[in-house]
């Protein structure tokens, strides 16, 4: 153990950072892969089907656990078709622009007390800025594809994301007013106490709005008009195939995980134990904080799938109405209320 | 005039550790912790106007299309209330608020009172015209009120920051008022021109401001003036910034050679907008120049005096000469505005109390006559028939002798014919110039005023001696407009017979 510690300390800083990044990225990408599998399984069971159960590992069926790997291999070997008249550079750049921010946002994410890659002061702002960049991938994909469906999808997505980003930003403003800090670790620390102290209760409207806006922001059902399979085929990524398509796919799921994790962090106390402040607290002292954090994130990730299986797609004008006329006013009112309570 | 006896302690330099900060990293800030609300009391008119405007904005949403006259009445009430509050907080001393970024002095009081009174008149004229042209939307009133607020902010600005923000508030409201008639292509064209050129001018002004800020390291005018006074700041650099600032001011005034937008905007915008745009904002432009040049840059007076002299001479020459060639009366008024701006600049370039008083007097008088002149055009406009050409005024005397008489008085005042107040306005400016031994400038001013008299008299000739050809019907006029026009025309006469009161106020505003 001591040997390992000295070994680690002797490594150059750049290598240390790279290893830390890998320690976040590898589990994240594996989660993304199995999230797609979970989606098919969960929705399958909700619709009284089996979901994928054929592709196994090493000759064992294992409930179809090999499915994501088979999918990945298939997509890697498919040809990338670039449509005629498309802007080649932007066409290939778009998927990267869409996954970049989704991964970069994890840099400031605290998984447990002190367990964070970059503990910066304006962490919340950084996350907001990065999540707002994901839309470029979609817009550029829509435009560079030189296809009507893609452009329509891009337009829908641009308007929708800008609208919901405001509500999302305002919801986070409420959180930072309540916590008095932009640092994510301090936001969690400010929720110490017990389960009722977590911000889901004092900021209930913001919590609900944040998560719903998060669903809209990731273009997931019931806000998936940007893809709108039944109306505009697949929207912004209709022309993409092979690995370029896979990257969009990865970005979407990585974003969903990010939103789930953020919601857990901002409103459900991140790594804090739910038994804090109860007589049971002592029993669970041995559980590491990251376990609670993953449980909470997992719950929201499940909600994403649950929504998709439950709700029909919103009509486009209804999405706009909900964003501008319902969510934004509510968040503004609640911010004022929180600020007033904070000062009083 | 009631005023607050106590003066406000200037606590800019007090160091306070703010209690609201988290203890993690206590910041000791140089900060402004005034004793609310007493310390912001002199800003009461602005606060009142802003609150009223916001309330009117909301109230208007719930009013049915046919009941917009309530918005109009509320707007008048808001202006009147602001007027009385301005009177209430006025006093002969000078107060600095908001870490010296706001100034309340006799000059700002007088400018604000003038602005508010003229906007009040403008709204009365506009109301009839708007309903006649089917443009009666609540936004007109809220935008005019916001523009007025912007002008009040300019009048009280004591730092580059507030001055610029006030100017933008005014400009943004005006940009959106010009294309107010959305179905008119000339209106949209005028709006775009005004917006693009105005944004360019704002950019120039801002660039100049950033130069001066870079050179002096100060935003408030007291500090800027003090920094220039020390003589340690590079003069070339200051003048470089000054050039851009003067360009910005000249554009906002519409002085030659930055006048391109004026005729197009006056012609393209609805009369109801022009009568506001041509009047009160000229007083605000005067306030802008006064605050920037007289308060902020008195140390550079010798430089800006020369620049203003060139602008003034060009404006008087070009404005008066081109106005003669116009057949469209709105364009004619536009060029006449340019000429009048020349006079205001003449007064400013005197750079002494006398000159500022004369320029303020001139701006107030000009705004009063301009709003009346466009008010008459608004009254004459009828559904589908805009009074646009000079010929539309033919035989006005036969159609309505009283309106013709009022228009006569207003035109006389613009031309500078005694005994109307326009004569005295010109006289005071010339006096200020001559006392500086600038005889040449004075001669040029008189020469072009005489040329200018021609086209005003031509309109009078058309009104009195030509036969009406379009319509011989008597002019329909509401009692509100009639009262406003009568007050407007008669005040031009009354102030001309007794100019001493207003002059005394103007002089008191600048007496040290």
């Amino acid at each position: 153990m001591e040997y390992l510690q000295t070994f680690w300390a002797d490594l150059p800083v750049v290598v240390q950072i790279l290893l830390k990044i890998a320690a976040i990225m590898v589990p994240l990408l594996i989660t993304v892969a199995y999230y797609t599998y979970a989606e098919r399984k969960v929705i399958g069971h909700m619709q009284a089907r089996m979901g994928p159960n054929r592709v196994g590992l090493f000759g064992f069926r294992l409930l179809g656990l090999g499915q994501p790997i088979a999918d990945a291999v298939k997509l890697m070997f498919k040809e990338i078709i670039i449509p005629s008249g498309a802007n080649k550079l932007l066409f290939l750049l778009a998927p990267l622009l869409s996954i970049g921010p989704a991964l970069a946002a994890w840099a400031v994410f605290p998984f447990d007390a002190g367990l964070v890659l970059a503990d910066i002061n304006a962490g919340l702002l950084y996350i907001l800025a990065l999540t707002s960049l994901g839309v470029y991938g979609i817009i550029i994909a829509g435009w560079a594809s030189n296809s009507k469906y893609a452009l329509l999808g891009a337009m829908r997505s641009a308007a929708q994301i800008v609208a919901y980003e405001i509500a999302m930003g305002f919801a986070l403003v409420g959180v930072l007013v309540a916590a008095g800090s932009l640092n994510l670790g301090e936001i969690v620390a400010a929720q110490q106490g017990n389960l009722l102290n977590w911000y889901w209760l004092p900021l209930l409207p913001l919590f609900v709005i944040y998560f719903i806006s998060g669903v809209a922001e990731t273009n997931r059902a019931p806000f998936d008009v940007a893809e709108g399979e039944s109306e505009i085929v697949a929207g912004f990524h209709v022309e993409y195939s092979g690995m370029t398509f896979a990257v969009f796919f990865l970005a979407e799921y990585a974003n969903m995980i990010l939103i789930s994790a953020l919601t857990a962090l901002m409103f459900l106390g991140g790594w804090l134990s739910p038994f804090q402040g109860t007589p049971l607290a002592g029993w669970f002292d041995w559980v590491p904080g990251i376990f609670w954090f993953l449980m909470k994130t997992g719950f929201f990730m499940f909600c994403f799938l649950w929504f998709r299986a439950t709700f029909p797609r919103y009509r486009y004008d209804q999405i706009m109405r909900l964003g501008w006329k319902v969510f934004i006013p509510i968040t503004i009112v609640w911010i004022v209320l929180i600020a007033w309570l904070k000062v009083a | 005039m009631a005023y607050l006896g106590e003066s406000y302690p200037d606590n800019t330099d007090t160091e306070i550790a703010l209690p609201c900060l988290p203890t993690r990293n206590p910041i000791r800030a140089v900060c402004f912790m005034p004793d609310y609300p007493a310390a912001v009391y002199p800003a009461l008119p602005e606060m009142f106007l802003l609150s009223c405007t916001c309330l009117i904005l909301i109230a208007d949403l719930f009013l049915h299309r046919t009941k917009k006259s309530l918005t109009y009445l509320l707007s008048l009430a808001a202006l009147a209330g602001t007027f009385f509050l301005t009177l209430h907080v006025s006093s002969p001393d000078t107060q600095l608020l908001f870490t010296e970024s706001y100034i309340r002095d006799p000059a700002s009081d007088l400018i604000k009172l003038g602005l508010l009174a003229i906007t009040f008149l403008a709204l009365i004229y506009a109301q009839d015209d708007l309903s006649e042209q089917g443009l009666l939307r609540g936004e007109y009133f809220t935008l005019v009120l916001f523009a007025t607020l912007g002008m009040l902010v300019i009048a009280s600005a004591h730092s580059f920051l507030t001055l610029y923000l006030g100017l933008e508030l005014l400009a943004l409201s005006l940009y959106s008022l010009v294309p107010f008639n959305r179905d008119s292509t000339t209106g949209s064209e005028a709006g775009i021109k005004y917006f693009v050129l105005g944004a360019l001018a704002s950019g120039m002004l801002l660039y100049g401001i950033s130069m001066l800020y870079g050179a002096t390291g100060a935003l408030t005018f007291t500090e800027v003036a003090a920094a220039i006074q020390t003589g340690q700041v590079d003069q070339t650099f200051l003048v470089f910034g000054l050039v851009f600032i003067v360009i910005g001011i000249a554009f906002k005034f519409g002085a030659v050679p930055f006048h391109m937008w004026v005729p197009d905007v006056y012609q393209g915008a609805p009369t109801s907008v022009v009568l506001f745009l041509s009047s009160a904002p000229k007083i605000a432009a005067f306030a802008l120049a006064l605050r920037l040049l007289a308060d902020g840059l008195p140390g550079l007076a010798e430089h800006w005096q020369n620049m203003l002299a060139i602008l003034a001479v060009l404006s008087m020459a070009l404005g008066n000469v081109i106005a003669i060639a116009q057949t469209n009366i709105k364009r004619m008024f536009a060029y006449s505005t340019i000429a009048h701006v020349g006079f205001i600049l003449l007064g400013l370039l005197a750079a002494n109390e006398k000159g500022y008083a004369a320029a303020l007097f001139y701006s107030l008088v000009y705004a009063l006559t301009a709003v009346g002149g466009f008010g008459v055009l608004a009254i004459l406009s009828r559904q589908g028939l805009n009074a646009e050409q000079i010929d539309d005024l033919r035989g006005l005397h036969q159609r309505s002798p009283w309106i013709a008489l009022m228009m006569l008085l207003l035109l006389f005042s613009m031309a500078g014919v005694p005994p109307t107040v326009g004569f005295f306005a010109k006289l005071f400016v010339l006096e200020a110039i001559i006392s500086l031994d600038q005889i040449g400038l004075a001669v040029i001013a008189v020469f072009f005023s005489i040329i200018g008299a021609y086209y005003y008299l031509r309109v009078i000739k058309v009104m009195y001696f030509d036969q009406p050809d379009v319509s011989t019907l008597p002019v329909r006029i509401t009692s509100g407009s009639m009262a406003a026009l009568s007050a407007n025309g008669l005040s031009v006469l009354a102030l001309g017979v007794f100019p001493a009161t207003l002059l005394a106020l103007c002089q008191a505003a600048f007496s040290p």
Binding site: A159, I166 | L21, N25, C31, L165
Partner: protein
């Protein structure tokens, strides 16, 4: 050369390059995307100047929101470039002359003898726990409170202006009233008629 200086020159070079591309690209979408790049480099420069709040806010506001809407509009544009270029060529000599004149003046005035590093003392580095955000908030809400309020009013006017210039209620447009839709009850839409069974035979 320190690492920071290297970064500075890198960001500055990208910024200038991107800004040049913005005004020289034929395709407005490319121009807009280069503008995004310019904002990013600018944000990097601000970050080097220890203004991390402003740097992130620049990305958040301009890149994340303003430019998205800008792209949205630009993608819809159908500009006839030939037409634009005709005017450009005709006016180019005058424009070049004016630009050269202004450029020469700027160089003469803003040269290193007035704006060299010697004239400006280097700022004192802030301690590690110095929070830009708090300092900015303090300055905004105390020293510049008045200006802050006016800026808010300007934004409000912007909203009013945009709505008053663009919102048209066309009489032919059919609107939905979601409130009414939600409030609707079965008895409003469906009438259950009781009738006796008819004798078919």
């Amino acid at each position: 050369m320190s690492f920071q200086l290297l970064l500075f020159y890198l960001f500055a070079a990208v910024l200038i390059g991107a800004a040049l591309m913005v005004i020289t690209r034929r395709n407005p979408v490319h121009s807009a995307l280069f503008l995004v790049l310019a904002f990013f480099s600018c944000s990097g420069l601000w970050m080097l100047a220890e203004a991390e709040f402003l740097a992130i806010a620049l990305v958040l506001v301009y890149v994340g929101a303003v430019m998205v809407l800008f792209l949205f509009v630009v993608m819809m544009l159908d500009i006839n470039l030939a037409e634009l270029r005709a005017g450009f060529v005709r006016n180019a000599p005058v424009a070049v002359l004016v630009a050269l004149l202004i450029g020469a003046q700027l160089v003469l005035i803003l040269g290193p003898e007035r704006f060299g590093l010697a004239q400006f003392a280097a700022p004192v580095p802030k301690p590690a726990d110095y929070s830009n955000t708090e300092a900015l908030g303090l300055a905004l809400f105390t020293e510049h409170l008045y200006a802050f309020e006016i800026a808010a009013v300007i934004l409000l006017v912007g909203i009013i202006a945009a709505i008053s210039l663009t919102l048209r209620r066309r009489p032919t447009t059919r609107y939905q009233n979601p409130g009414q839709q939600v409030r609707v009850q079965a008895k409003d839409r469906l009438r259950v008629v009781k009738m006796d069974a008819e004798d078919v035979a």
